[in-house]
Each structure stands twice: as C-alpha cells, then as structure tokens.
Amino acid sequence: MPDGVRYYFGAEARLRRAVEDVAMSVFAGWSYEEIATPALDYFALFDRGMGHGEAQRAFRFTDTDGRLLALRPDVTSSVARASATLFANRPRPLRLCYAASVFRQRPRSHAEWRREWTQLGCELIGAAGAAADLETLLITIEVLEQLGLAGRFRITLNHVEIFNGLAAQLALDATAREELRRIIDTRDTDALNRFLAAHTQSAQTNAARHPLTRFTGQSDIIAAARQQLTDARSTSALDALAEVWRVLEALQLSDCFEIDLGDVSGLDYYTGLVYKIYVAGAGTRVGSGGRYDELTANFGGREPAVGFVLDLDALTDVLARSHSTLALNGQTQPTIIDDDDIATRFRAARLSRTNGERIELK
C-alpha cells in the first residue's frame, strides 16, 4: 500500500462512524444543509480556491482532453464555487456542511502523515461580522462537547490583519514578509527581535516587539497589543478580536480559548478571524477555521464567508486512545438465526428484521 493511507475496521470503524454521526447531527441541529462535492475536479478550481502554495499539494493528473484534474485537496473551494453559481440566487446566508475525504501530498509535518483523511466541515456564506464568526465557533465547541471532550480542548484565536497591519507598517517586500511570517510561526523570539531591530527605524514601531513576542494569552494580550500596535489595520483587527472575546466571556466559554498572535498560517487565504483547534492527547491540531471573504470572488461574486473543518481521523485517534464509549451506545447482542431449511431461516430473518432486531445468520 502507498504511504499515508489506511484501512478502518472493527471497533475503530464504528467509533469513526459515531464521530461523523455526532458532528453531522450537530451541524443539522444548527440548520446546516449537507452538500456532497465531487472528489475529482479541475485543478484550476483548487488553485484559485486554496491559493497556489497549498494547491501544489494536490494529486494531479490529466483528463482525456488534456486538462489538469486533481483529487480534491479541500472541500471549501468547491462549496465556494457552488454558492457563486448553483446557489447564486438563493437567499443569504447559506449554511452548508459536509463530511468528505480529502487528498494531499505529504505535508511538512512528519506527525501529520496522512495523505487521505476526512474533513467534517461547515461553511457559513453571505454573513459578515462577529455573530457569524461566533456561530461557527459555537458549533465547533458543541461537536467537541458531544464527543465527550469537554475540558480537554482549546481553541486559539487570531486575526490575520494584525500581522498584515504590522507587515504593511514595516513596508516589507514579499521575501521579508515571508521571513517575518516564518519567524512568528515558530515563535522564535530571538529571531523576531533581530528582525524588528533591523526593519524598524523609529522608536515607536520598535516598541511593537512586546505583544508579538509574548504571542499567547487571554484578554490581557489584546490590551497589551493595543498599547503597541497602533496602525489602523491592526487596531480594527484587535477590536474584532475583543468583540468575539467579550461574547465568549459572557457565555462563560473563554476558558476553552486562547488568543494566539503567533498563528500566522494561511495568510493568503483568510481575511479575518482565524482559529485552530487542539485536543489533549493529539500532538497536532485536530481542526481549523476562519473567515475568507475574498474566496468566492474567484468564482463570480465577492461575499463574506466563514467556515471550519474538523479532522475526523485525528478525532477518532484521540477518542480511541482514551477508550471512548461513544460507539458502544445502542450496541445490542445479535439474534442468532439458525434453521436447516433455507426458506424457514430467511422467513425468521425477515421477521426479526421487521422488528428492528440485529441478526446474525449461522
């Protein structure tokens, strides 16, 4: 078998199915309508939808007419195209969800070894602002809670305009911008100090070191960042984060969250709030989400959108290791059906099945 793919069977397959069912029923509970997208599509769709860098990880091959096809590396691109075309005339907002396998070549991380995995995702299209962002966060929390992970997960929040504002203020070229992004991504404080010292002239921007080198915290970090990041883009991003945080506190959910100014992945894709989902017992993140207001513009009409995905396989791994009883609910002993006469045997089988019993033929 090739690297990065696997079988699921027995208890693990039952658990995986149960996790998917929990997620899809939560999505349905928030009125998200299931959409199934093609597993095979034009590479150009993903190149536009995910950005060039990420789309490069797709498995590609040519169609009979020579056009470039790909196994879907994500579902969001296809959903965005559908909302701009198929659903162009539907009233907004659109609430769509899916459970679908995605395929990518091996990523940078060695711990994320899978090349095929299943995303459980929601997309809220045509809705702007903190209320829409919060809706997706609350759905995420509900899924994790219903999986029995309450108190064992943490979601980090950031806003891409904090980095974009800083990069614009420092007037960085593309290379320097990527260097700054990489430094912040690895939380390399020493390198960040050297970088800022080299790229700042005035003492005022020099002081901007402080909140970014601290990276994570709760509402205190927003206050600290406000002191130092004073450009218009960063300021309004901090306002947006503060608004989300205020509501989370009012809902008494802020313990599940952390502000992480060091989360600077997917900057070309996301346009506002971004979040990452971590669960104790998993060494890598189990999901991510954020606002991507520019994506649907690639397919016709620009409209605000926010969404997230949870990694079904990573969640199944964590739950299997912590001996989750999720898949045991409703498990009954089968009725054994045994008769030498084939017709009698199947008559009994049909009767038991009519009564909804689980049967096993001898």
Partner: protein, 238 residues
C-alpha cells in the same frame, strides 16, 4: 501521553498549584543524548530544574526532576524533533542543525546558546579552485547540503555518510564535505579547511504546537525560567 490526557483546565490553575503541590500536568522534555546533554542539563539547573546525579547515573532513559514537575527522556539528537512533533514529548532541547536537517514542524521559542558551532563547507587545503561540472559533496546533512548548493545553482552529487565525513575528500570519495564544525581541529588534522560557513547552530528549546496551547501556563513558565537563565531576558513581560 497519559499526562496529555488529563483535564487541561488544570493548566489554568497550575500557576498557583505547583508551588504547593506538584500534581499539575508534568511536562515531558526530550533531551539530545551525547554532546549536548551536559550543557542542556546545566542550563536547566540554572533555571531551577535539576535532575539528581543519582537519577542521571542510573541508566534509565526516562527520569523526573527533583521536584517532580518535569519528566526527561534521553534520545538520539535526530529523534528529539520526532518525539516533540508527535507530542509524546512536550518540549525538547536539540541543535539547530538537526532542526534544519529534519525540517521539523515544531515551535522554537528560545535559543539556549549552548553548543555553539557552525555548519560549513570544507575541502582539502590543497584543492585547486578549478571548475567542475558536478561537485561531489559528502555529508551527514543531505537536505542542508542540497538546499545550500541548490540556492547557488551549483549542481552537486550528495553522498550521504553516517560518520567520519572528513575522510571522504582525503580518500577521494568527494570534492568537499558539509559538516558541523566546532573547533576546526578535526578538519585541520585531516588537511581540510572551511571554504564557506552555511549557518550557525546552537542548542534550542523546541515545543510541540499542541502542548504550547494546551499546557500554555506550564510551557510559558519553563520558557521564562530558561530565558532568565540564558540571560537573554531583554524582552520579557513588563
């Protein structure tokens, strides 16, 4: 692994809890065995995290610190990023050379400044500077070497060796080597000189991405304690 499955809410309270009791989430730290181990343990001791000589003298590969807040595992340098990336160890101490070579996806919040050395290209001192169509490079760092020459557009044949790399140019297996250079003595003894320094390497604290969030308080305390110990506390929380 067991530690990670505890209720992470304990992390929020560990700030006050560990001073009186040390039951809150212990952190697992992977240390590179060999050259870096002693210096890493010294820095940790300066940061108030000490392992008893008795525990070290034993041949156990996993030991706890004297206050029971940290569990140390001793593994080969190249395995440190593996343990940390998978979250089996929350943190690790390892050289930048290893991180570059393995392209590990881990956080690197602190340069500990220990085991300072460089990764360099070295060749025979008597090598003539004549142009070659293809440079043969012997190294334990195939990725670093390929990236270095690739960025300069120099075509190379990488010959991967697992030790005594200095022999390769002497015996004619390669035109030059890419290797870790500490004092340069081994090079000199084999008639080699540094042609070009690729990058510096020091011991670094690395942290698993999930642990950084799930055990934010404990990890933050360790980083701060080490930062003070290393004496690069210039930028700390006011």
């Amino acid at each position: 692994m067991i530690a990670m499955e505890q209720d992470i809410k304990a992390d929020r309270t560990s700030n006050s809890a560990h001073s009186t009791q040390h039951t809150a989430l212990p952190l697992t730290i992977a240390l590179a065995k060999g050259r870096m181990q002693d210096e890493a343990l010294h820095v940790l001791a300066c940061a108030g995290v000490s392992v008893s000589d008795e525990a070290l003298a034993s041949r156990r590969l996993a030991v706890e610190d004297e206050r029971g807040r940290y569990r140390f595992v001793f593994v080969k340098p190249a395995d440190v990023p593996v343990y940390v990336e998978h979250g089996i160890a929350d943190c690790g101490v390892v050289g930048r050379d290893v991180l570059l070579e393995t392209e590990a996806d881990v956080l690197q919040p602190l340069d500990l400044g220990i085991n300072r050395c460089c990764i360099a290209v070295a060749a025979r001192a008597d090598a003539t500077g004549h142009e070659v169509g293809m440079l043969r490079v012997a190294t334990k760092y195939p990725r670093i070497a390929a990236a270095h020459f690739g960025a300069r557009g120099v075509p190379v044949e990488i010959i991967e060796l697992s030790g005594s790399v200095e022999l390769a140019p002497v015996l004619g297996l390669a035109d030059c080597i890419v290797d870790l250079v500490e004092t340069g003595r081994t090079l000199a003894e084999n008639g080699l000189v540094v042609v070009e320094t690729i990058t510096e390497s020091t011991g670094r604290l690395v942290v698993n991405r999930a642990s950084y969030q799930l055990k934010a308080t404990a990890v933050g305390e360790l980083i701060e304690a080490l930062r003070q110990a290393v004496g690069v506390g210039a930028v700390t929380d006011a």
